[in-house]
Symmetry: C2
Subunit: 235 residues, 2 copies
DNA sequence: GTCGTTTCTGACGATATAGTCGAAAATGAC
DNA sequence: GTCATTTTCGACTATATCGTCAGAAACGAC
């Protein structure tokens, strides 16, 4: 069988983690990972669109054909990377938010998880932001909505478990958008505004205000929902 | 004299507005504007990077050479468009915020100005967001920082005029980042989250919470600044 | 109308990139 | 060692895009 080139997170080995049995599997995994990390690195420099396959293979120090052996196209690679990165982010958020009962603490943890996650992973942040920007386009990369929607949904689940009154789907989605949008929105401007890398500290200092804002927003949603139980179309 | 191709907002005519005296000047202005609007339209579909000169000239229904007669390159056009769009946004913000004395009202107006500005100008919003995303790259388009920094600075000026205690530059900048980042950050996620175009209503409903959050953030900055007058490096 | 200037045109050469493919290298089983 | 299989390689073709340029068309002055 020649040429897998499927977008699978790894050899669908079923095995837990990094331990690849044979030397060949190990070598393949290394090459694949080299390509992904090279891509991440170039993406953070030139952006998704202007990065060429040659850029990636040259930085990964492999032949061009090797890329196409592992991935169907640049778009396929982007899908894969976005999926994996957001899955990691979701995992970090969930880990950080296990067992929380009250809303303000949960919001603080969710925001904190974002900050910690991106703190030392600039390339992932660029990937995240470039992906979001791509979503605003009519003809962006295919299949990028799904991982982002999943990411929003996992935030919604956390919130839903803590908020007493049941919220409408649309309300929940709006709150999740607010959480995700606020964090990265501020981040994106802070980038051009501060010289050194005090960005994280800066964002951290905004946390309290953000949590208060979101808690208030959610409370308003809940109470406005209570006033007229059924009518929530126009808000 | 052949080939202007400079990035000027218009013929440096000195004249106020649209009234171009001669037919030739009018025709040139129309062509130029056709190109800009065609570019805006294609940018909103394919993004800045993947848009080709041919895309633009074809949509504008002019020959390819015409583009190079008016603009030096795609990058030059992007700079120009970004500058003009942000200048318009700043003008709208300033108009909406004239004579405001208290901080919460000012914040509300600034946010409101953003919402109103982008409400019926989807293509401009995409331009704005794509530009911001480009700022995260190491090798993005040249000369895009300046207009964005100017935009932040004009927000800072408004805030500085209202806040009693003088804030350090860095603090002001952070607050401006927060305002700009929050608004567009939420917007960007709401895009993929809601089917219809209730995005504006949604954002509007967040306004109160945002204003409260920012006011609190600013108050914290001010009071924390009062506690130790000189020490504000690490915050 | 003529004529000099400005504006527009699209074919063209140069270059860059995507994706393919046959061959080579590495691996593992024997 | 042999041999089949997996993985890697990079030259190659086809295509797309940039930016140029000589000339055409529109214009304004006369």
């Amino acid at each position: 069988m020649i040429g897998t080139a499927i977008e699978q997170p790894m050899k669908s080995d079923g095995n837990p983690a990094k331990a690849a049995r044979t030397r060949q599997q190990r070598r393949t995994g290394v090459t694949r990972q080299k390509l992904i990390e090279a891509a991440k690195s170039v993406f953070a420099e030139r952006g998704l669109d202007l990065t060429t396959i040659d850029d990636i293979t040259e930085r990964a120090d492999v032949g061009k054909g090797t890329f196409y052996y592992h991935f169907k196209s640049k778009e396929g690679l982007i899908r894969l990377m976005m999926r994996e990165m957001l899955a990691e982010l979701v995992a970090a958020i969930n880990k950080r938010c296990a067992g929380i009962e009250d809303l303000p603490t949960l919001l603080d943890r969710i925001i904190g998880a974002h900050i910690e996650f991106f703190a030392n992973r600039w390339e992932d942040y660029v990937l995240y932001f470039q992906g979001r920007a791509d979503l605003t386009l009519q003809e962006g990369y295919q299949g990028l909505e799904t991982p982002f929607v999943n990411y929003l949904e996992s935030i919604e689940e956390l919130l839903d478990a803590v908020i007493k009154r049941r919220l409408a789907d649309l309300e929940l989605r709006r709150i999740a958008c607010a959480v995700a949008g606020f964090v990265s929105g501020y981040y994106s401007f802070a980038v051009i505004a501060t010289d050194n890398d005090t960005v994280d500290d800066t964002l951290r200092s905004l946390r309290g205000a953000l949590v208060a804002s979101l808690a208030r927003f959610i409370n308003e949603s809940v109470s406005s929902g209570e006033k007229d139980g059924s009518e929530r179309v126009a808000w």
